[in-house]
């Protein structure tokens, strides 16, 4: 095992590279990234508006000196266009071939787009573009009330603009949090002035026309906007793996060691792996998972055979409220209030499935929810 190639130079890919070096790996590490920029932190992109070029350095995942010490064969601004698992090679857009003994797919996701246009937000360049378009906008329609859509709606409303949030779900993030917390989130956004249209799919977007943009709903209403943002989820970036011999279905399908083939691994948003803790497949698009899974993949490349069985963690900041989750929540799981009540400004909930706590949620309760994490996997008191 002398040559590791990592496709994807963001949080997951960098975690693999850094961990390999920390563990004493002395071979070649090729790190291939589609963006020209060195790896940066993405969650902050939806935590403030008006990013400018000068902000980039604050988002770097690795400071330049530490990055240099990783001694990488670094190929930034290079897209991998094909892989061959049988021969152990990668093909890059510039025609180069990169041979590998172990391959890590860490290509993440791309934002889903809708016919008719609308800005999306995934990269730092997207954030700069969004800031430029927001400059003169008074009225912003945000299609999709997931993490990104809700965080953006909060920022837009807090900036004094009209924020209009649209989603076919009954309430913001209902698929994530279940009805009770989604209703609480709806109340928060309503109180802070976000206009919301829930339970109605979008019929048509006209965001590419000059002047006012339109978003038509399926019930016949028309929403007018200066700017349309589309935040309707994302797709694993796996199209380049067609014909590679690497199994793909809603991401790269891996076993509990994050292994898709004997020498092929996946980490981060793109990995659809079997989490033995919950005995089910998962593909997690959260920041914490990118690092944790990258660390696990590096260990497994080095022969540690460490099953990756995290209690998933995510958070979202909306207005001045912080929601943090450990484990699995939402769906039909029964909600139990551990501390406070859902109507108040600070509470901790447990989500119970088959008699055991599958996950815990803290609303403005960072210390409380961290302590409650120990209850995951146990029956409620």
């Amino acid at each position: 095992m002398d040559r590791v190639a990592i496709v994807g130079a963001s949080a997951a890919g960098l975690a693999v590279a850094a961990t390999l070096r920390d563990e004493g790996f002395a071979g070649t590490i090729a790190l291939i990234g589609e963006e020209r920029r060195p790896g940066y932190d993405r969650p902050p992109l939806s935590k403030k508006l008006h990013y400018q070029e000068g902000d980039f350095a604050t988002l770097l995942l690795t400071d330049p000196a530490a990055f240099g010490r990783l001694d990488l064969d670094l190929r930034l601004g290079q897209r991998a266009v094909a892989a061959d698992a049988r021969r152990g090679t990668l093909s890059l857009a510039d025609g180069a071939t990169v041979p590998w003994d172990a391959l890590v797919v860490a290509t993440g996701v791309r934002p889903a787009i809708l016919p008719g246009g609308g800005l999306t937000l995934r990269t730092f360049d997207d954030a700069i573009r969004l800031g430029e378009h927001l400059g003169s906008a008074e009225k912003v329609v945000i299609v999709g009330a997931g993490f990104l859509g809700c965080e953006l709606a909060a920022l837009v409303a807090a900036s004094g603009r009209r924020a209009i949030l649209v989603d076919p779900q009954p309430a913001p993030m209902a698929d994530r949090f279940g009805p009770a917390v989604a209703a609480r989130l709806f109340a928060l956004h309503a109180a802070r002035g976000v206009e919301m249209h829930f339970g109605v799919p979008v019929a048509r977007i006209l965001a590419e026309q000059a002047g006012p943009k339109d978003v038509d709903l399926t019930d016949g209403r028309r929403l007018e906007a200066d700017l349309v943002v589309v935040a309707v989820g994302s797709r694993p970036a796996t199209e380049w793996l067609a014909g590679s011999g690497i199994p793909v279905e809603n991401g790269v399908t891996c076993d509990e060691y994050c292994r898709a083939l004997p020498n092929v691994y996946a980490a981060g948003d793109v990995a659809n792996w079997f989490n033995p803790r919950y005995a089910r497949r998962m593909r997690i698009e959260h920041r914490m998972n990118a690092t944790e899974q990258g660390v696990a993949v590096a260990a497994n490349i080095l022969g540690r055979d460490r099953a990756f069985d995290p209690i998933p963690y995510f958070w979202t900041d909306q207005f001045d409220q912080k929601i943090q989750v450990h484990g699995l929540i939402g769906g039909n799981r029964q909600v139990v209030e551990l501390t406070g009540t859902i109507g108040t400004d600070s509470f901790v909930l447990a989500y119970v499935e088959a008699g055991l706590i599958a996950g815990v949620l803290g609303w403005n309760a960072p210390v409380g929810v961290r302590k409650a994490r120990a209850l995951v996997g146990k029956p409620p008191a």
């Binding site: 975690a15 850094a18 961990t19 920390d22 932190d41 969650p43 604050t58 770097l60 995942l61 400071d63 920041r287 914490m288 690092t291 944790e292 660390v295 963690y313 958070w315 900041d317 912080k322 943090q324 960072p366 210390v367 961290r370 994490r373």
Partner: protein, 68 residues
Amino acid sequence: MGKIKIHIDQVKCVGAGQCVMASPQVFDQREEDGIVFLLMDEAPADLVASVRKAAKLCPAVAITLEEQ
């Protein structure tokens, strides 16, 4: 392995508490907003491994380490 000096960027910190779980003798969180503070500025040799783990896991890249 020598001591290690620890810095927290409280502006970047998102209050995840991963560092507190990795190294509870070194890191703690403010009750009101979860922002992390240090219980010691320098980690002795026996805590260095846990501090390195905390820095690596931090989902906000808010922990930097300075070898002594």
